[in-house]
Amino acid sequence: MSERALRSAVLASALLVLGAASSTVTITLPPDNVQFKPGPGVDLATANCATCHSAAYIYVQPPLNRTQWTAEVTKMKKAYGAPIADADIAPIVDYLLTQNGRP
């Protein structure tokens, strides 16, 4: 969305809020512009992670080691129900280590 469109959405929302204490409020969230960066495994990461959340979730973490990234990917599968094939966990972790990893 352009900045102008975003401002319009904000303005529209604000007007609705001012109009009445209980009324319909509509917002337009800005687009998620954070992309997974190119590298081996980027397609797997995009397909498995970006369904539910921005790639920013990876890049804002402190650099994590293999154990930590494996725990994160496993949590996404087991706790949050992400349909990650078991065979894809290791290549996704490899990719995440190239993006924001540490030994």
């Binding site: 204490a21 209980s22 917002i27 650099p63 129900g81």
Partner: protein, 390 residues
């Protein structure tokens, strides 16, 4: 307060219209952006939106403006259109009279109650943990203080009539998981922990809540971490067992150890759901690393706790070797930020480590050693600020 002095102190930081900020930890560069109904906030993640309040805003007044209030959602399925006229809050489960209430019902059938209370994310300041832990990498701005207006949760529950078998109340909002397999975001409070301060709030600082803060109603749980303050509250369910959903049983757990602290190599300790806020205090009119002018300087800040109230705030200009009592500002109730100020004389060419330490009315205070736990919760170390005088 003297705005001129404030400008003087923070002018360097605010003069440029920055498009990014660099928070004081690795991978801390963040864009600033104005989301709907919000001014420029620090974007931790865009989807779901996690937006942090720039810390200098806490110097502007005791209440955090709605458009500056931080935002935190767990699941990206956030309704972007909400009709406050038709929204219903269903009270069901182990109750004698199941109810469905509109916002108007809350306004007209129940006493209108106001409370000023701090809402602080459980993970506030997680980015400052050492060693670092995974999770939402907030600096200190995942908190805010607002005047909340609404109906008492206990009054609504009384109207429904709890069954004797009920042990917890479970809350759910309108947000939805994107996958069927993802646990919906629900939180529960034990009936013994409920009190008259807890509200179903339809106003925030006298206005409708911003959608991203839970329009049209959110649960207000003064003194408790914000994970319990359910946004877009839609369901209140009395349940007969302790809730064992993911968000209570697995997530948002703290070590049940002295001080809720452990070391990174500890394991096997018991855990409990995160619950009440720890006592904290901050300086709000300068940032660490700043250069200040010589002469008498007024230092201003905030303090808060879980609702015991702030007894005193101590200020130090020598890294905590010596302390003096700060002057407390107006008392807005035990659940609010309490403003404070102190003075010290800054000598040209010198460097100082400023520090502040709050103590509650029941004697809880801050220490110089930070807690550590793998969730990155409960940080309340004595904050220090290095300043140079030139």
């Amino acid at each position: 307060m003297t705005l001129a002095r404030l400008d003087f102190l923070i002018g360097a930081a605010s003069a440029a219209a920055a498009t990014t900020v660099d928070l004081p930890f690795a991978n801390g560069v963040r864009p600033l952006a104005a989301y709907p109904q919000k001014r420029d906030l620090i974007v931790l993640t865009p989807r779901p939106p996690l937006l942090e309040t720039p810390f200098r805003i806490f110097n502007d007044g005791v209440l955090t403006p709605n458009d500056a209030f931080y935002v935190r959602w767990h699941l990206a399925g956030i309704p972007t259109t909400v009709d406050g006229a038709t929204h219903q809050i269903k009270i069901h489960g182990s109750v004698k009279r199941p109810l469905s209430l509109s916002v108007e019902d809350l306004r007209t059938q129940f006493e209108r109650v106001e409370i000023i209370a701090v809402n602080q994310c459980s993970g506030n300041s997680r980015g400052l943990f050492s060693p670092r832990v995974p999770g939402g990498q907030w600096d200190n701005g995942a908190m805010g203080n607002a005047r909340w207006t609404g109906a008492r949760l206990l009054d609504v529950l009384a109207k429904a009539g709890l069954e004797d078998s009920a042990v917890q109340i479970r809350f759910r909002g309108l947000d939805q998981p994107l996958l069927d397999a993802t646990p919906p975001f629900v939180k529960a409070l034990s009936i013994g922990d409920l009190d008259e301060n807890m509200l179903i709030a339809y106003e925030m600082n006298g206005k409708p809540l911003p959608l991203l803060n839970g329009y049209p109603v959110r649960l207000v749980v003064p003194g408790w971490y914000a994970t319990y303050w359910m946004k877009m509250l839609a369901q209140i369910e009395a349940i007969d067992t302790v809730d064992d959903n993911f968000w209570m049983k697995t997530a948002y757990r703290i070590p049940d150890t002295p001080g809720n602290t452990v070391t990174p190599t500890d394991s096997g300790y018991p855990t409990i759901p995160i619950n009440k806020l720890t006592v904290r205090s901050f300086i709000t009119n300068l940032t660490s690393g700043q250069t200040i002018a010589p002469g008498t300087q007024t230092i201003r800040g905030i303090a808060f706790d879980s609702g015991k109230g702030i007894r005193h705030v101590d200020f130090s200009s020598d890294g905590g070797a010596n302390w003096r009592k700060a002057t407390l500002g107006e008392d807005h109730g035990n659940f609010s930020f309490r403003r404070w100020e102190s003075r010290f004389t800054a000598e040209r060419g010198a460097s100082y480590v400023l520090a502040c330490r709050a103590t509650t009315k029941d004697g809880e205070t801050q220490t110089a050693i930070p807690v550590w736990n793998p969730g990155g919760y409960l940080r309340n170390v004595i904050e220090t600020y290095e300043v140079r005088v030139a």
